[in-house]
Symmetry: C2
Subunit: 414 residues, 2 copies
C-alpha cells in the first residue's frame, strides 16, 4: 500500500518527485486542475470504479453493484486544485486516501451493501476567484449562481467563462445538486495544516467543526505627494496609517486566543498600495484581512476591535478608512455521530485521536449542510501548508487509508 500511495501521490500531482522548490500551482477550473482530475479518473478506473463528471466538473468515482445501486451512498473525497505555489498534499491527500481505502477493501474482497463513492471536487481553493469550494457548493445546492457568475480572476476571466472553458455549460451547473436521499454520509480526510494533533501525541484528528472566515477589505485613503519635498509633519501617508493596524491585528488575535476557550486567528494577508512608486508617498492602500474561529462571537469581537482601532488611526494619521465585508460565513458544526464513528473505528485499529476544530474551510462544510458529514485530519510536517514544503508522511497517509477503509467497511457493510 505504501508504495502505491507514494506512486499515486506523484501521479495525482503530475510530478516525478514531491521535492518541488516552486511548489504546485493548479488553480481551480484551469487545464492544470483538469489534468490532475484525469489522473484521478484513470486511477479510480484501474481500481474498478466507474467515474462520471457531474455538471459542475466534480468527478465521482463510484463502486456500486446491481444489488446496492438504489441505496444511499457512503462517500468520501476532497479536491486536487491548489493555491499558487502551494503544496502537493492539501486536497490530494483526501482523494488519495479515499482511493487507497477502496483499494484496501477491493483487495480484501469486501462486498459493499451500499454504494461507495470517492469524490474529487472542483475548485476548492479561493485563490483564483476569491470564492472557495465551488464544486461542493454546487453538489450540495449552496451555490448562489447569480452572485458567482461575474466574479473574475486576476486576468479578468469570470467564473462563468472559466467553467465554460472546461467544456461545461454554465446554465447546467445547478444540475450538479444531489438529492438528500442519494448520500448516506460523507467524510473528508485532509492534512491538518497545523500542529495540534502532533502536539497532543495523537495519530489523527477527528474534526468537530469548521471555522469559517470573516474577511474584510479596508480601504485607506490618504494623500499622495513627492517623497522628497513633503515634510514629515502633515503627511497623510496611507501606509504609515495602516502599519499600526497590521501590528494590532496580530497582537489582538493572539491575546483573544489566549483568553478564550476556542482559538482565533487573524491575518492581514494582502496589500495593494497606490501608486507603489519609490518617489511617491503612498496615497491609498487596500488591506485584506482574514479572521477565523469556530466561535463566531470571537470573530465578531475582533472585527469590532479592528473598526475601533481604525477610528483612532483615522484621527491620528488624518486619513479615512472604509471597510468592506467580503465574507461573513458562520462556522459549521459537523455531525456528532459521524465524528464518534470516526473516533471509534480509529480506536479499534489502535490509533489515538484528538477531537478538534478546523481553522480552514473544506468541501465537507458544504456537504454537512445536507448530509451527515465528518472529517479527519492526518498530521503534516511542521504544520506547514499552502507552501512548497507542505508534507505528510507516507505512514500517516497509510493510517488515513486504514481509518477511511474502516469507516466505509462499517457504514457500507452488510
Amino acid at each position: 500500500m505504501k508504495q502505491w500511495l507514494e506512486e499515486t501521490l506523484m501521479k495525482l500531482n503530475l510530478v516525478e518527485t514531491m521535492d518541488q522548490p516552486d511548489g504546485f500551482t493548479r488553480l481551480g477550473l484551469t487545464e492544470e486542475e483538469w489534468e490532475a482530475m484525469a489522473v484521478f479518473t484513470k486511477t479510480a478506473e484501474e481500481l474498478g470504479l466507474s467515474v462520471s463528471q457531474d455538471k459542475a466538473g466534480n468527478r465521482i468515482a463510484r463502486w456500486e453493484t446491481d444489488e446496492n445501486k438504489h441505496k444511499p451512498t457512503v462517500a468520501t473525497g476532497s479536491h486536487v486544485d491548489t493555491v499558487e505555489r502551494g503544496g502537493g498534499y492539501d486536497g490530494v491527500a483526501g482523494v488519495l486516501c479515499g482511493l487507497g481505502a477502496v483499494k484496501e477493501l477491493k483487495d480484501e474482497g469486501f462486498s459493499p451493501a451500499q454504494p461507495i463513492e470517492v469524490i474529487c471536487f472542483a475548485a476548492e481553493e479561493s485563490s483564483r476567484f476569491g470564492i472557495s469550494t465551488i464544486g461542493s457548493k454546487a453538489m450540495s445546492g449552496l451555490a448562489d449562481y447569480r452572485a458567482l457568475e461575474n466574479v473574475t480572476d486576476s486576468g479578468g476571466m469570470t467564473i462563468r467563462e472559466a467553467v465554460e472553458s472546461r467544456g461545461l455549460v454554465w446554465g447546467d451547473v445547478k444540475k450538479a445538486e444531489r438529492a438528500p436521499d442519494e448520500i448516506a454520509s460523507f467524510v473528508e480526510l485532509h492534512i491538518e495544516q497545523g500542529l495540534r494533533v502532533e502536539q497532543a501525541g495523537a495519530d489523527y484528528g477527528a474534526v468537530t467543526a469548521i471555522a469559517c472566515p470573516i474577511r474584510l477589505l479596508l480601504h485607506f485613503n490618504g494623500k499622495a505627494g513627492h517623497t522628497g519635498t513633503t515634510p514629515m509633519m502633515g503627511r497623510q501617508d496611507a501606509l504609515v496609517a495602516a502599519a499600526p493596524l497590521i501590528s494590532f491585528i496580530s497582537e489582538r488575535a493572539g491575546k483573544l486566543s489566549a483568553e478564550s476557550d476556542l482559538p482565533i486567528v487573524a491575518t492581514a494577508s494582502t496589500i495593494e498600495l497606490k501608486p507603489n512608486v519609490m518617489t511617491v508617498i503612498p496615497g491609498s492602500l487596500d488591506l485584506g484581512i482574514d479572521i477565523r474561529s469556530v466561535d463566531d462571537s470571537l470573530k465578531e469581537q475582533l472585527e469590532r476591535d479592528i473598526y475601533d482601532k481604525c477610528k483612532e488611526l483615522e484621527k491620528h494619521f488624518n486619513v479615512t478608512i472604509e471597510g468592506e465585508k467580503l465574507v461573513h460565513n458562520p462556522s459549521v458544526h459537523l455531525n456528532e455521530h459521524v465524528c464518534e464513528k470516526l473516533v471509534s473505528v480509529g480506536s479499534e485499529l489502535g490509533f489515538s485521536s484528538l477531537t478538534l476544530e478546523s481553522g480552514a474551510g473544506h468541501d465537507v462544510m458544504n456537504m454537512a449542510a445536507k448530509w451527515p458529514s465528518g472529517m479527519i485530519f492526518i498530521p503534516c510536517k511542521g504544520g506547514l501548508s499552502h507552501h512548497p514544503a507542505e508534507e505528510a508522511s507516507v505512514e500517516d497517509l497509510a493510517k488515513g487509508v486504514k481509518i477511511i477503509a474502516a469507516y466505509l467497511r462499517k457504514e457500507a457493510g452488510e
Copy 2:
C-alpha cells in the same frame, strides 16, 4: 502672456483642461513623452527658435544669431515626462516658463549677445526604470551606460530597448554629452513641491542645494502558511515584522528633522508582498525606502538606525531581513553666484525670495556637475506634487517667466 501660458500649458500636457481626475501619465521614453516633446518643438519653432534633438532624445530649442553662435549658451529648461497619474506642472512649468521668457524677450525686441537655449530633457522621472534624469545625465556626461543598459521597466523592457523604440541608437547616446565651453550657465525653474516658499510669504524660492536620495530595498523573509490553521504563536509573518519598521521610519525621520538644522524626510513608498493572497500568511515582502536630505550625514544616520531596528525585528519576529542599497547619491550644491543673480533679478522686479534646499532631485543636479547652475521654485497649491491635483497658479507661472527672462536678459545681454 497669461493667456499664452494657460493655452501652452494645456498643449504641452496634451489636454483641453487641466482638471484631470486621473492625472497625467507620460512615462519617460514612451510615445506619450514624445508627443509632449513634439508640442514643445512646435511651440519653440513658432517663437522662432531652431529645435534639434540630441542623441539622447533631449530637445534643444536655440536662439542664436550669426554674431553670437560661437559663444557659450545661456540655458534654461526642465522636462515633460511625468510619474504615473502625476500632475501637469512638474517639469512642464520649467519648459513652459523658459519658452515664455523667450517670448517676452522676442516681444520686446531683445537681441542676445550670447545664444539662449530652452532645453527639454528626456526621462527625468524615475518611476519607469527606477533611474531618474536620464537625459540630463547624458548631456552632462554622467550616465553609466553599462549600468543603465539592462535596467528594465515593469513590463520587462530595458532602457536600451526603450531608447531604441524612440528611434534613437543606443551606442550613440553618449554623443549627447556637451563640452564645458558650450554652456555659460544653466537655470531650471520648477514647482516647489512643498510649502516653504508660501509659508515664508515669499514670491519664489532660490535653491542652494539638491537633496539626493539614499534608497534602500529591504527583503523580509518569513514563512508562508495557511491563515486559518497556523496558530498566532510561532508565526513568521513577513508583513507583521515589517509593520513596526514602517512606523519607525516615519517617526524617526520626523524626530531627526526636528532636532537638526536641515530637514530630512524618509518614506516607505513601495511594498511587494508574496504571495499576497487572502488565505496565505505573508511569507516575504520587499519594502522600498526613500531617504532625502541635503545633509548627507543625516541620511546615513537614518540608514544606520533603520538597520539597527531591523536587527531587533529579526529577533522579535523570527524573520530575516536583507538590505540592498539601490541609490546612494551625495547631495549637490548649486553655484552660489548663479543663486545670487537669481535672487537679485527677482528683487529688481519687486519679488521676494526665500533661499532654500530642494528635497527632490532635478535635471539641474546633473548640469551643476559641469556648468554653473541654479534653480528657482515657484509655489504650488498645497505643496502637492506627483498627484492629479498638482497645480501652480498662472500668476506664479507669469512671475517665473519674468524672473527667467530677467536672468537671460542679464546673462545673454550686451
